[in-house]
Amino acid sequence: MYVAVKGGEAAIANAHRLLADRRRGDRDVPALTLEQIAGQLSLAVDRVMAEGSLYDPDLAALAVRQARGDLIEAIFLLRAYRTTLPRFGYAAPVDTGRMRIERRVSATYKDLPGGQLLGPTFDYTHRLLDPALAGDAPVEAPERRALAAVEDCPRVIDILDREGLIEGDGDPAGEPGDLTRDPVSYPVGRDLRLQALARADEGFTLALGYSTQRGYGRVHPFVGEVRIGLVDVEVEIPDLGFTVRIGAVRLTECQMVAQFKGSAEEPARFTRGYGLVFGQSERKAMAMSLVDRALRADEFGEERRAPAQDEEFVLEHGDNVQATGFVEHLKLPHYVDFQAELDLVRRLRAEAGQRRAERGEETR
Amino acid sequence: MGAFATTALATAAVAGGFADPVFDAQAVFRLLMGAMAEPGTVADLGARVAAPAPLVPAAAALLAALADGDTPVWMADPAGAGEAAARWLRFQTGAPITEDRAAATFALLPERHDPVGWASFPRGTSDYPDRSATLLLPVRDFAGGDGLVLAGPGIAAERRVAPAGLPEGFAAALAANRAGFPLGVDIVLVCGTAVLALPRSTRVREG
């Protein structure tokens, strides 16, 4: 007699146990500490914070460990935790002009106030696997310079702005939307697009940004500036009427100077694409700024033809937690629906066979 | 939450909320959902709040369960006769109190409020018919008034109700509201601790 498969609960418990075992790995090897992950895999932690929309290196390190290094899984863990947090207030806009800079490069000027500062970059490393890193060879202390006063390092974009050569920086008035608190209805403003892009999957954003360079929504970009460093976070205390510094976050900002526009009424000027992400991630910030600019097509009367210019397409498909859930849900049982399809395909084939047989009889 | 003076009014605003915010809100919502799903049935929400007049207990309970900072509540004369009620609602729910009908998510209508004025509450848009107001209308009793025959979703065939103390032109206003479906307002009659819902999907005739 047929007995249906049972014991889902026990199977799930056993799967979780096995997962925990594989996560821990060889017990003779010391377990990774969160300090090691946050300190030595810090770019993975940065990505988890950026796409998890939560700045907390310790929790992000925990998520990376819990997810066995699967960063999308770690982002998911951080997001699911973030959603339960109460909102105590909103920070004042951060001022990246007052960033304590660790790295800063501009592609538009050879030299500029504050200078070019390479900082901790992979850029000019030769990608040769380094056997020394297989062990724990001592590492030289870095060369440090005295921290320049923030005033000495103006944003490149502000230099262009003062000359009137680039469009304004948008309208600071009005409260920005929050797609984690309100349902999105299209068309959306640039505020929601930037929020979505800041949270979007790095690979998705990278591919879209790349596509604009290959002609799918070309924006003629120049990197005005990429800067990485710490920025103070301040909140306004309503009853006191002033702002209080509650901490600092590491940010990567990219100001992309894009194709100029002008018309009979307006003199030509450059336009902007903007990228800002938690942690150190130039790839993400630069790709974001390309896609931001591409999505502004309507503002400049550009024809929207490419995926990167289509806000519904970009916003609905850039979230890797949504995407991975829906792609992977296909492994859940679908046998009820498959049965319905089986039934139909069998019927259609039977009917076609019958029709062939009837035709055969007629010609005979 | 802003500072408030320790007047008697303020004390009344702080008191009288749900004793158990999680389960009272759930219970009120479930009863209201049942009433909305089966228009014309009376649901007693229970004595869960104590709100200042002119707030009817059922209306106060409904708003305590469903209103918050995202849902402006319209009421008449919030600075005058409605001041204590407005203060209670603001404290208990965080909802902004508005005199602008077009901004209202919920509206606390006075008794026998003239339906002609209901047209200025949000009825939703053809793209978003859900962006519409829910009107709370106090009645004297759920029985003893002129008969109304209800039909539509939530009603197996027909359901007869006879609320007493309805404003003049109520049935005609509901018919007009139904004619605009899917746009329209949703109406909840309140009396004591009980509610009777008349969502826009309900067809109403006198009889």
Binding site: T180, A340, E351 | G152, P153
Partner: protein, 290 residues
């Protein structure tokens, strides 16, 4: 405020609210449900939260259930008609853990049934609520991927494209080739996606005495059918809507006129058909063997 600890008692961890969601989120979902009930078949946008389970695995249904659930509820969760599929087991355990509520596998005992892909064979009764997990709530999505377009189509009641698609099937195959997620029209107004039910279950939605709620988490939509709502499967006069029928009865309980799973028993074409609804099948067997 009563809270339910998610973590083991020994480890001080984050404490979550009853049924996981915070009260503000529940209020927002509850308001969306009420508007959904007032406009049957219309998809109400809601600010879906990121749940501790993946999108596509029932986050919409779980949020709806969490928003309506009270301590006296008895919850049944099915996936493919079965209470013992892993995702059904997992969702049931989630609510046991976060809400401490009673659960059941018996359709008749449940106050709330959360489902993926089936409606129980035992007719639902007045007072019961069924919550559907919905992956793609927009019935027009496969014809038009843009939300801005489909929203306008619903606003204008512009459903011609859907009929054209169904008629193309007839022209090509002699049948409407949609076998699940078969679109319905609600109260003569909104075309609605019934979630990926086999069309076998569509007639059960029509004038059901139970309240039917639909939650799509990733797509951020909630919709509803109040009891006794008119729900018609789209069809044509010369090609009326029909449901699947099975030639043989359930191999286990002998039931006819129920939906069956095809179970492959060997690799030489051996197969048998058994009830998809495990509660229905088990109840029949229990009744047959006193």
């Amino acid at each position: 405020m009563r809270t339910t600890a998610m973590t083991a008692a020994a480890t001080p961890g984050p404490a979550y609210n009853f049924a996981y969601l915070d009260e503000g989120t529940k209020r927002m979902i509850r308001r969306a449900i009420l508007k959904g009930i007032a406009v049957p078949g219309y998809q109400v946008p809601f600010a879906s939260r990121e749940m501790p389970m993946p999108y596509g695995w029932g986050t919409g249904g779980v949020q709806v259930t969490a928003a309506i659930l009270g301590p006296a509820d008895v919850l049944k969760v099915i996936d493919q008609g079965a209470d013992d599929t892993t995702n059904a087991v997992s969702i049931r355990a989630f609510f046991r853990k976060t809400a401490g509520i009673a659960t059941t596998t018996r359709t008749v005992e449940a106050t709330i049934v959360q489902t993926r892909h089936r409606i129980p064979e035992t007719p639902l009764a007045a007072g019961q609520i069924i919550v559907y997990q919905v992956p793609i709530p927009e019935p027009l999505r496969f014809l038009e991927p843009r939300e801005t377009e489909t929203r306008t189509m619903h606003a204008l009641e512009e459903y011609g494209l859907m009929h054209v698609k169904l008629y193309e099937d007839i022209a090509r195959h002699g049948h409407i080739a949609t076998t699940y997620a078969y679109p319905v029209k609600v109260e003569g107004r909104y075309v609605m996606d019934p979630s990926p039910l086999p069309k076998f279950d569509n007639p059960k939605m029509h004038r059901s005495p139970a309240l039917q709620l639909f939650g799509a988490g990733r797509e951020k939509r909630i919709y509803a059918l109040p009891p006794y709502t008119d729900v018609r499967s789209l069809d044509f006069e010369d090609h009326p809507f029909t449901v699947q029928s099975f030639t043989e009865p359930c191999a286990v309980c002998g039931a006819r006129n129920v939906y069956l799973d095809e179970v492959v028993t060997d690799d030489r074409g051996g197969r048998m058909f058994v009830c998809s609804d495990t509660d229905h099948c088990g109840t029949r067997r229990a009744e047959a063997t006193p």
